[in-house]
């Protein structure tokens, strides 16, 4: 897989596969830059600090048993594991799995739609550690 169009992504939140209700995923992988500049340095230098990850997920709201609302509402204010892949098929070097452990769910919008619009929820996860696996 080279470039790709995201049309069959795997989206699991707290071990629940919500791929069929997901419409958008953004993973922000960040290592904080800790300054290591000392006297004699020709320019500022940095070393890697803590991970400062965040993740935004858009879901179609679904109030059915065991679906979006039943899965998401109880995890607001807690930390869970998130798993994503570009394609829901088998993991491979060209289809890596991104696992964020300890992602804190800060925001959930259980009711979010205008007149005539699809009900959606926007989730914002913060923190945790990211691991990328290809096998």
């Amino acid at each position: 897989m080279g470039v790709f169009v995201l049309n069959n992504a795997l989206v699991t939140i707290n071990a629940v596969d919500l791929s069929t209700r997901a419409t958008s995923v953004t993973i922000n992988y960040e290592r904080e830059a800790v300054e290591s500049t000392a006297f004699g340095s020709g320019g500022r230098t940095f070393v890697a600090g803590l991970e400062n990850n965040s993740c935004d997920v858009e879901l179609q709201q679904d109030l059915a048993t065991s679906m979006v609302e039943a899965t998401i509402f109880p995890i607001v204010g807690t930390s869970v594991t998130l798993i994503f892949r570009n394609d829901a098929g088998a993991v491979a070097p060209t289809n890596p799995t991104y696992t964020i452990t300890g992602a804190y769910l800060a925001t959930h919008t259980p009711l979010n739609a205008g007149v005539g619009e699809m009900g959606t929820t926007s989730l914002s996860f913060q923190g945790g550690t990211l691991v990328k696996t290809t096998a």
Binding site: N14, A70, T71, T81, G102
Partner: protein, 56 residues
Amino acid sequence: MTTYRVTSDLVYGRALGDTVTDADLDGCNIDALIAGEHLAPISVTIKKQADKEAGQ
């Protein structure tokens, strides 16, 4: 160790009716999975030793 039965078909890598343990769910919010009706604790009945000795 607590054992749970999978009660929805949305639990990643598990099928409806599978059995999982705390260890299988490391990093997950188990209370939320129960609240969302994805898991149900399996209750275990422990017979007293005295009952066994009495042949009951």
